[in-house]
Amino acid sequence: MSSLTNLTLKAALDGLKAKSFSSEEITKAHIDAIEKANPSLNAYVLPTFEHALNMARASDARLARGEGGELEGAPLGVKDLFCTEGHRTTAGSKILGDFVPQYESTVSANLWRDGAVMLGKLNMDEFAMGSSNETSAWGPVVNPWRSKASNAELTPGGSSGGSASAVAADLCLGATASDTGGSIRQPAAFTGTVGIKPTYGRCSRWGIVAFASSLDQAGPIAKTVEDAAILLKSMSGYDPKDSTSLNVDLPDFPSFVGKSVKGLRIGVPKEYRVDGMPAEIETLWRQGIEWMRAAGCEIVDISLPHTKYALPCYYVVAPAEASSNLARYDGMRYGLRADGKSLTELYENTRAEGFGNEVKRRVLIGTYVLSAGYYDAYYVRALKVRRRIAEDFEKVWGKVDAILTPSTPSAAFALGDKRVDPVTMYLNDVFTVTANLTGMPGISVPAGLDANGLPLGLQLIGKPLDEGTIFSLAGALEDAAGFRAKAEKWWA
């Protein structure tokens, strides 16, 4: 049965529709795979196997009647940031304790509406704050990929490390993820998977535990560009419960994959080179440019001069919003409560015990930058920089249809490598944060392997609401790169 887990989502949906196999069969195959792999990879923090089998059987009944939605019977994983009705949701934090939501996030509800099956909840950095999955209260996720040079456990990236690892290791056909500064695209790049952060407002944030409201956006991690398009189509859509949700037409994303990209203009920003970036990434980027040219694209050199301020800007705005968003975890109504002799002590003990170090660091930074006397110098200034960055992009959109960059400045690194130095860790987001700050869509596509046999990704950034073009270009890139490598199943 293990071959069923190797299928792409698209192939699995075709097989289900053709009744080549049942949802129960493919769901069981994934459950087996998870049981074997999870002790090594730690991708799932809450398997919901019984629930999955019930959903699968219900899907099979619908399929037997010739009914069923666009994801009917497909087993998926859900990042633990998404509230799932009746299933514990922790956002990777101790402070939520055994919190079981009485509601389903809009994005996951959309998947179930279309017939998908939930295998379980996926590990992640605490409150989505991290780039290596090491801030999770549930312990780090392990990347299924290993370096040829050593057997050291590698990070799958973060914060959607569980999602990326599970998809890369065939522990689900696809997974939900979220991206505040690169949390979909960086782990996708580190695991040889495809991850797209759509336009801000494309997916509802309702029912997703908030990190930084103006930057958070849900998206899928998938095995192929087409799979990502199928998942995003289901996850997206206007939701009146989220005031920042966009009430716009929802394009048929999968139909864009495979479309000709001839004549599209690809911008290559000169600022997307950072000190210490491995030559292999530079080489891959140049290779990507050649592939796009070969596919009929026009390559345009562009400048995005404020790029260098994006990371500092992000690390003011995101913690500021987070410091306020996380105030509700006060030990009063749900989750962890650590008692104290006074109200203040109760707050202090609860939050000291409940939050990990990275979350505390960001709450402190955020509180600081919003404080009287610092607000203008940090927060207001960051908002101005954010505007400048957006203007950079607005200027180039007249000249180009999309922008090609590396996804990350390095391949997956060993767990523990960067834990000591948060600033080095923050550099992981250097190519991805601009899309969050400006609300533009960005996709990471696996494009090659480095000398140690580890996957590397290239990123395409598109105009707001123009995911269609990105899907076409990402499909072309995927074809050209011909990336077929899979992690060796060392855990089985």
């Binding site: 944030r205 509700r328 707050y347």
Partner: protein
């Protein structure tokens, strides 16, 4: 304003006269069926935590969605305060921890409120008026309620009120006495009730004020102010300001200085007490709420709302004075409540409006107050007053008899006509009958007839005798005329 009036507001201290400077921040609960950012019901009297949505309880992943109706009420109020409506405003988060604040922040408006500067004209009891400038009106969420007296060791939280829409209406420091502050607060309440944007129920806490008080020597710059929190009655406001002004004057006259602080009014001890000093004040870390888009209000919507405005108290007062010829004082009493004004207008149909106004503002209001009725629940309908005044106008009864008729009406004896008929109270207009009575009295009292020639004021005695002889039913004007001619005075 005359110099006398201005000086009468000053208070004397040991070192001379002091002026009080007062500004009010009024919190008025929006009269809305649901909360500002959630669909949960708003209402008084529900069981604890029965009106709480997932958003109000700040469950993870919940998001606020602005209630359009509440915005409409704020705009309506802004128009009623003759204020500028800001086409673009923003919601901001005010961050602090407290168990009655589930989100850990209150969604409020900070540097971009929905309503900007306006003005309220306030009448004093003596009929003069003054203006209070409005600095701003913004929308914000109310907090929940902590209950400390159910258990010796625990406190309980009721979130029913959490998330309810409040309008905070901030005045400039334009009031100079506790009387002026109370008059402004009353006027504001009247306007809100007219507009229907707040029910003005102070007992339920639906309208309350933070009172900023400072004192200074006349002509000097503003002194350091103290803020008295959550004052929820006119009387407490009066007492709190008077106590606080005295307290500040004493400190200053003793050579001390005022600490800027937040104080609480204790109605039992009739004093204000320090709650927290400026140093202890929270740093609220206001910033724009990223869950909400800027609030953009279309001009066309503002115009729609403007067209839906009811007649406001000031306009009504002016109309009552011009249309009905009422005095400013009577008009002021009648417009103080919309229902009262409506009552008056119904009662005045086709009648001498001044006479109707007298009956409403005197006999009716006094009886209502005595029996504890609102005018909406008045046992006497406007039609009854209209009929009563009609009887006076056509000379059927005198004003004096009318009072008796009114008392019988109040006692439930029926319509004015029925009472007049039943008790034979119709006024005697028959001059023959009155002449006959006068002649009899003159014959019986020749000495008094003589005396009145030197002392015309003594005619009153004859009037009394005639009225007595006719059972009070004689038309007083006719009695006077006939007496004058017969007595030759």
């Amino acid at each position: 304003m005359t110099a006398d009036l201005a000086e009468s507001k000053l208070i004397q201290g040991r070192t001379g006269a002091w002026e009080i400077v007062i500004g009010l921040e009024v919190h008025a609960q929006v009269a809305s069926k649901s909360k500002l950012f959630s669909g949960a019901a708003v209402g008084f009297g529900a069981g604890p935590n029965e009106q709480v949505s997932l958003v109000d309880a700040a469950m993870p992943g919940m998001l606020p969605v602005l209630n359009r109706y509440c915005v409409e009420q704020a705009v309506k109020t802004g128009l009623g305060l003759r204020a500028e409506i800001n086409r673009t405003s923003r919601f901001a988060r005010k961050n602090y921890f407290y168990p009655d604040l589930p989100q850990g922040y209150q969604i409020s408006q900070f540097d971009q409120p929905v309503v900007g500067e306006g003005v309220v004209e306030v009448e004093r009891d003596d009929g003069s008026s003054f203006e209070v400038r409005i600095e701003r009106l913004h929308l914000e969420q109310d907090a929940g309620k902590l209950i400390h007296d159910l258990s010796p060791s625990e406190s309980y939280v009721d979130l029913n009120r959490a998330g309810t829409a409040l309008m905070e209406i901030v005045s400039r420091p334009d009031m100079r006495s506790s009387d002026e502050a109370v008059a402004y607060f009353k006027k504001l309440r009247t306007i809100l009730i007219y507009l229907g944007t707040c029910d003005g129920d102070m007992e339920k806490g639906n309208m309350r004020a933070d009172v900023n008080v400072s004192v200074r020597k006349p002509g000097e710059g503003l002194g350091t102010r103290c803020e008295i929190k959550n004052v929820n009655s006119f009387r407490f406001m009066q007492q709190a300001i008077e106590y606080e002004a005295r307290r500040q004057i004493e400190i200053l006259e003793d050579g001390g200085k005022i600490d800027q602080e937040t104080r609480l009014f204790d109605p039992n001890k009739v004093e204000t007490r320090s709650m927290r000093s400026k140093e202890e004040a929270h740093d609220y870390r206001y910033f724009p709420d990223p869950d909400l888009l800027p609030l953009v209000i279309e001009e066309a919507w503002i115009e729609d709302i403007r067209r839906s405005l009811p007649e406001l108290p000031d306009d009504k007062r002016k109309r009552f004075m011009s249309e009905y010829g009422l005095s400013a004082y009577d008009a002021g009493i009648l417009i103080a409540e919309q229902a009262r004004a409506d009552y008056f207008e119904a009662a005045a149909k086709g009648r001498d409006a001044k006479l109707v106004a007298n009956w409403v503002t005197n006999a009716l209001l006094a009886n209502l107050a005595k029996d504890g009725h609102d005018i909406e629940a008045s046992p006497l309908k406007p039609e009854a007053i209209n009929e009563l005044v009609g009887l006076i106008e056509d000379g059927s009864i005198s004003s004096k008899i009318a009072k008796e008729v009114f008392d019988r009406m109040w006692a439930g004896e029926g319509s004015p006509k029925a009472i007049v008929d039943k008790h034979g109270l119709v006024q005697v207009n028959d001059t023959g009958a009155i002449e006959k009575a006068i002649d009899e009295i003159m014959v019986a009292n020749p000495d008094k007839v003589e005396a009145v020639k030197d002392k015309p004021q003594a005619m009153g005695w004859f009037v009394g005798q005639v009225m007595k002889a006719t059972g009070g039913k004689a038309n007083p004007a006719a009695v006077n005329d006939l007496l004058k001619s017969k007595l030759g005075v």
